[in-house]
Each structure stands twice: as structure tokens, then as C-alpha cells.
Symmetry: C2
Subunit: 553 residues, 2 copies
Amino acid sequence: MAEKLRITSLGGLDEVGKNLTVYEYKGDMIVVDCGLGFPDGEMYGVDVVIPNTAYISRNRDKLRAIVLTHGHEDHIGALPYVLQDINAPIYATAMTAGLVKLKLEEHKLLDIADIRIMEPGTSFKAGLFTIEPIHVNHSISGAVALAIGTPVGTVVHTGDFKIDTTPVNSDMTDLTRFGELGKKGVLLMLSDSTNAEHPGFSPSERTVGRRLRSLFEGCDKRVVVTTFASNVPRIQQIIESAAACGRKVAVTGRSMENMLKVALELGYINVPQGTLADLGQLKNLPPDKVCVITTGSQGESMSALYRMAFSGHKYIDIGSGDRVIISASAVPGNEKTVSRLINELLRRGAEVLYRSIDSDLHVSGHACQEEMKMLLALVKPKFFLPIHGEQRHLRAHAALAAEVGIPPANTLVTEIGRTVEVTKKSIKFGQTIPSGRVLVDGTGMGDVGSVVLRDRQHLAQDGMIAVVISLNSEDNSLLSGPDIITRGFVYVKESGDLINDMKSIVVETLDACEINDITDWATIKTSIKTALSSYVSKATKRSPMILPVIMEI
Amino acid sequence: MAEKLRITSLGGLDEVGKNLTVYEYKGDMIVVDCGLGFPDGEMYGVDVVIPNTAYISRNRDKLRAIVLTHGHEDHIGALPYVLQDINAPIYATAMTAGLVKLKLEEHKLLDIADIRIMEPGTSFKAGLFTIEPIHVNHSISGAVALAIGTPVGTVVHTGDFKIDTTPVNSDMTDLTRFGELGKKGVLLMLSDSTNAEHPGFSPSERTVGRRLRSLFEGCDKRVVVTTFASNVPRIQQIIESAAACGRKVAVTGRSMENMLKVALELGYINVPQGTLADLGQLKNLPPDKVCVITTGSQGESMSALYRMAFSGHKYIDIGSGDRVIISASAVPGNEKTVSRLINELLRRGAEVLYRSIDSDLHVSGHACQEEMKMLLALVKPKFFLPIHGEQRHLRAHAALAAEVGIPPANTLVTEIGRTVEVTKKSIKFGQTIPSGRVLVDGTGMGDVGSVVLRDRQHLAQDGMIAVVISLNSEDNSLLSGPDIITRGFVYVKESGDLINDMKSIVVETLDACEINDITDWATIKTSIKTALSSYVSKATKRSPMILPVIMEI
């Protein structure tokens, strides 16, 4: 039987984020990307979500490389959490490597990491895999696709990409290389599905630059611009526009400052001499000589722009003398926080320009339908796996593949943990390997699971009632209490009657237990819980968590 | 000094929802609309939000009428909560009245309500106000604007509206009447700002009908359509398309069934004889003879469509033989639940059509910029108050008013509770009256305030730790405990060490209190809390709520 190439995504399918794909052939394994995801609204208290990498750990002796396509969190963010467990050489372009180093330094993990710089067009070996990075456009510098040479054939893994004919500080996506590979024959392509529902072409990054420039020209206000910290080409264009209009530029917000530092060091951004300044220095300049680039495009409550809007910023208080430009879109789930920010800025009298009223203020970094089809048509893969997206995006991408002539039977929509087995002639589902999500809360990884989350959801919904009694260990007689403590249930000061009723019910329940000769504490607790929850539900139509506590004296 | 007309919105400004506007002149007051809002993501456990109507209660003897512009929840939903307190004749069109009756019946409040039917073109008196309803198009039948005659002049209050040249089962918005009023002279207009950021015209309801029809024609699958229950014109079009293609139609979901009942009774919908059937009856028909209209367009987890998708529905299990049409858009905040529904339907093999991939499947019921300007240009009000919207929408609407020639000084963007005083010649801000939001949770109104919400947020974030000890009341010696109970904090079974450490810390703290002669229980509790929270924060980087309980024996 011929050996198979086995491909399994441990994240990035049926979801947006935590992208991680495992390639295996015989005794060799590589991992492409190692991203984190963000908790959805029901994962109370969870900071980030990472893929379950137990399978990789178990096979760590086979792991030859972790290859990163670019430096966004959903592609590199899980590294600090998994690196102690699944160490291997990390391959990244210079920009991506710079960001990874910054991240690992913060987590004091830089020492254990073996980071190697890769460059578009220069192949390297990782076990029996040959990996060639291919330059692509994306909303971060240093993004690449990968051509992965395997014993069964070439696999193209696009990473996130778009096709920008006029990108900033870089060349267009290397369509020629994709086409050459296509001509030689590509067995399989895995491609980003994020914008598979969007028709047409994603506009060029330059369209944003032109619009920004027009908003600086002739403007006599202070200009404050926010965008995604990682979008160096955007920051480049903001700085150029500001400098061209004689403004000094200050950058604020930790992630933005970090990004600028890395981009400057590595030459991914060009700043005209004397343009950058500290925020403090700008204070003495007239408004029309000032530009502030800040974090906070998602309305994050601790971000610099949020603090400028809600009067918590050291240097800047936004008001009627300001033009605020939000050069970003709201990431799904952040619509309300972004709206809150816009509303507050407007209320303070600032002029606010944002994408809903000016569509040229942002472009997506992901390919739209025509770009996806173009890449499919260039690469002409025999088999196709849409990745990076919810079911709706994966299906839409599969439909596009069918449009350009890939037989529907040659496209598989798989799911997290479900292996796809590829030979020179076939593609099919294989086994399902251990997978899932690991919730990170504070320093804890995985100790917040479904039980803890369910409790948090319960507590969030209607709060809690603790009922504490002290019983004599000899005869179960009530020595003290019941004490009732509630949090998040009702406004206690105005609920004296309710609390007193609950106390009576507990006492009655204890009496009933005594009469019925119930002495087992577990049963007594259950009786108290049942009686109280029935009363509370009738009285308030709420179902708080009820916690009976019996102290033994 | 001339008397002033005083206008105050108690909801619907700087927010979407809970619309309620108070008009006062001397000893007379009317209320226009009485809506509810939905809790935002941080209002854990809150069912609905209603306006604080304390000011109206205090002036209830002046209240002459509650006038409703249409039957959407954000215009009528607060009635059951405030009616016992601020009773007055309720004026509504037949359709709106039908929905209000249904609602009040559910709350067993129908007896106390004095509901009066009003009709477009027929004026009525309410104190010294004269009210003329004017027919408008909206995504519900029976919607009206109001021309309110006051001693200082005519006020036009648009309610929600759009201008549909080809509406379903009704005429176009009565532009002529608006124009006549404009010619006679309108002092002030208050107008819906929902879509003020959207350029152009809102497409006609008929565009959806045409698209729906094309999706029924030649389709051999079972067709399941979901839309907003209140959108009777949409339901009309779905039924027409289904009937034209020889399908029987069943309607499922409580709100949809209620709506259909009211619309049928009042003649707002025409159903071809023999078209409607029960879900049970459809079971025996071939798929191409079946259409199901269902609730659940927002992905609500208890809705009929959700249950069909997640295998919880009595009659229908959706699969590869189904075409599911989501003829609605996601209300802001519901994007994720809608996406979850679409993904699950696709995963089950259904064909799913939704607005992101087919924009003709839904149209907004609210005017876009050109319609707003057209109404402003017809009514030519001297003064203008944008209502119904967040700050961004109100400001955008104000800008449109300026475009059509209303001097910016004649437009005021006010806020909830801030009265606007109008004379024949002036408009200005007046006093601020008591206002705000009242949170409804179960049967409780207002007992969930900021303290309770803050506790729920805290509990949701990191859970809670209760520490219970029994102390001898004579000498404060420890009789029992410490017992540690946690919920939503860590997975207890794997956290034995952590719990034991916490117990030790409590004992150490008690010892320290004794040595330092601290006998006051409040201080002992605070000491325990401080010591534990510092330990927990270091060990886990989490901040659960810590509740020390001391039992006195």
C-alpha cells in the first residue's frame, strides 16, 4: 500500500482564528502556523483560546519544523503556550520572526526558541518535506504562502493572502511563481476562505492611502488615526500623508509602538527624517502640525484611543479641534465596542470618519472571490481543501473551486481534527485525531473547562445565593444561621422580605428533615436547594445558583 | 412670556430601541410610543430594558394619550411594564392595536387598557393637542407618522418609515399629505435616524418578493423560510410565492403564529384558500409541495428554526433535501448567533440562502439618506430633531438636514431626559428631567441595578470563592472550617493544592488577627479577603469574587 500524506487542521475550520495545520508523511511532521483565537461571548473570563496540541506533543519526535506564514495573532499567537511542549525549529520571514521574538520575550521563552529566517524563493528542508515560501500580499508585511514538496506531490498552502496590484512597500503577490507551480503540477491546494462570500476583488491598499492623503490636505485640525497595529503598510501611508502635509507624527499604544520598532529595525517601513516625535513633544505644536497614530480601532476599553475619548489619557483629550480617522473595520463581535467609541468621540464634538460613512478608509487583507478563483486557476490543483473560516466560508470557497473546474469530488470540507489522506491519485477522509480548544484564563491553561464555564454562565445570568448553617455534629441541631449571602441576584438593601422568607424556608426545611429522620448532609443540602430554588423562581422568575453550606461543630 | 412646547425623549436617543417621546404644553401631556430595548452584552441576565418613566408618573394627571406609531417591540414593548403606573387612552391603528392587545393579554393587563383605534387621515384630540396619523411604509403593517397640532405650530413625528413606491398590501407613504403640511408650515419635525449612514434609497419590499418567487420556481426541495415575525408584507410574499408554485404553507413559532392570526383577522394579509396547513399535515406531502415559514431569523436558541437545525423540533429535521431561505438581516449584536445557525444548516447539507450571499433576500424598513432628505424637503420644518439612533446616526441625520437647507442652528441633537423647548420662533435646550433605563429581569423591574450588574460581571469573569468559618462568640476561636467553596473559578477536582493553600492562608490570617488583637468581624473578613485575593492573583492571575462568611456559635 502506498504511503499517504496526512493533513489535519487543529484549528481554523468551522471558526475564525487559531489556525494550525499538521502535515505528516511517514516519520516526518511539520506544523504550519500556530495561532490563537478569541473567546466568544459565552466564554466568560477566558483570555484566549488555543488549539489542543496533544496530538503533536505525542508525536513530538517526528516534528521537524513549525512554519509560520505571517505574524498575525491567529497564526502565531499560540506559540508561547505550546512551545515548551512541542519545540522544533520555527521558520518565519524576518518580519514575522521579529514579531515572534517580541512575543516570546514577553513570555520569557525566547531562550528555548530556535527561530530561523526564511525568504520567498529560497527553499529549505524539514524532514522529507521541502518548503518554498512564496511572497503574497496581506495586511501585514512579510506574509508568504508555502509550496510544500512531499513524496506524493506538491501542496500549496496559501496562508492569508490577497492580490494587490499596487501594494505598499512590497511587490504584488508572486502570481508567476504560483503559475509555474501550476504548470508543473500541484497535487493539492489549501487556501484561505475568509472572504469567500465577497464577490469581486479586494481593493488595493493604495486606495486607502489616497483617501487618507485627501483627509490630511487642507485640514487645520489635529488628526488622530487608528488602525490595526500590525498593518505596517497602512501605518506607512498614514505617516507619508502626515509628513507630506508638514505634520509630526507620534505613535501611541503598546502594540503599535512594538510593531513600529520591529518594522523600522527590519526596514519594512520608511519614515522621513524628523517626522516621528514623542506625544509629549507634540503638545506644543499647533493642531495642523500634529498627527497621532494610535491603537484602539476595535474600541478596546484599555486602548489609547479609548482613553483619549473617555478622558483617561495622559496627553490627549479629544474634542472639537480633532479629526479622528478610524482606518479599520470592526472585527465580527466588536461592532458594539467600535460604535460606542465613535459615539463618544462625536459627542465630544470631534469630527469622526469611519468606514460605514467612508468605505475607502479600510480594505480587507483577504482575497475576495475573483482573487480566490484567479489563484485556483493559476495553481490548478488536482485536489482542494478550503481552510480558515466558518462552515459558510469553507462551503462558499468550495463552490468557487467548482466554478473554475475542480471536480466537486476533489474538494473536501473537513473539520478540526479530521485527517485528510492524500495520495498521488486520491483524497479522502482518514481518522479523527484528538483535538479541540484549550481555554487560557490568566496563567491557567485548560483548567477552565465546560464545568467552570457553565458555572460562570449561571452566575452571570442570575447571580448566587449562599446559605450557611452550623449544625451540631451530634444531633444535627441548628447552632447558628441560616445566613443568606447573595451576589448578583437582587439589590439586597431593598430585598429584606425576600431574604427573610428564604431564611424561614431553610428553617422549615431543616425541621422537615428532622421529622423525616433525614440526617445525611448531602440530602439536607439538596432539600434546601430544591425548596429555595422553587421559592425564588416563583417570587422572582430567576434561577440564581444556590450554594448550601453546612458547618459541623 | 409665551408658553413653550416641551419635548423630551425618555428613550431612543444615543441608543437603538426603547423609543418614547413626551410632548407637554401647559397642563397637557401626550406620549408617543412606549418601546423596550434589548440588553447589551454586559447586562447579564437582563431580559429587557425599558425607559424610566418616573417623570410621566409624577405628571400622570396631565397625561391625555399614549399614541403608538406602529407595533414593533421598540415602540410598544414597554407598555405592559408601565401601564399600571401611567394609564391613559392608547391610540393605535388597527394592526398595532391588535398586537398591543395580544401583548397585554399575555400580561393579564388587557382589562385596564383603554385602546382606541386611529386611522390615517382622521384627526383626534388629546388635551390641547390635535393628532393626525399619516400613512407610512415600514416593515410592519399599520405604521403611521403623526402630525401633532400644538398651540405653537405643527409638529411632524415620523415614527419609523421608508418610502416604498411598490409596497405590499398598502399604498406608498403619503408624501402628498407631508407636502401639504409642509406648504401650510411645519414648525418642527422629529424623524427616525436608523439608516442615516446609508446613502441612496432603501429598495422596495417587492424586490424581495421577486427574489423569493425565483427561489420557489422550479425548486424540487422542501423550502423553509425565516423572517421577522412582524413583517406581514414579507410573509404575504412568501405565501404568494409558495402558493403560486403549488405548495402548502405551514407557519411555526409562537410570535409568527400570533402575528399571522392578527393579520388575518384584520385583513392585513390575503392567503389563497387552502394554502395554509398544519405542520403535521405537511409531513405526508412531497418536498416540492411544502413551504414552512418559521421564526428564528436571528438564530435565537429557542426558536423553531434553531430547533429544526439542531434536531430539537417535533416535526422537522433539516437536511440535504431542504432549501432554507433567511429573508432577514442580523440585528446588530446577533451576527454570531445568525452565523452559528447558517453554519449548522450547511453542515447538515441543506442549501442555505442568506443575505451576505444574496442581497435581495431582505430590505430594510427604514429610510436611507435620499428618503430622509425627501421627507425633510417635503415637510420643510423650521426646526429639526433627529431621533431613534445612536449619536452617529443622529449626527448623520443632522448633516442631511443641513444639506436640504435647514440652518444647523435650527437642528438640535439632544439626549435622553434633556428637554427641548420650542416656541413659534425658537428652539433651545430646557431642563433635564429624571430619566434613564430600568432593567427587567424575570418579574423584577429595577431591582437589578448597577451593583447587581457589577457583581454579575465579576462573577462571570472569574467566578467566586466562599470561605466559611465558625467562630466561638466568646473568644473568636475557630470552631469549624475554614471551608472553601468555589464556583466558576477553577476545575476543583484538579485544584486540591490550590484549595489547601487557601485554607492555610485563612488559618494564618486568623492567627495574625488574634495576635494583633483584632476581634472585629468586619476587619477579620477584610483581612481574609485581602490575603486570599493576593494569593489567588499571584497563583492564577485571576480575581474571583471572594466572600468570607463567619458563623457565630
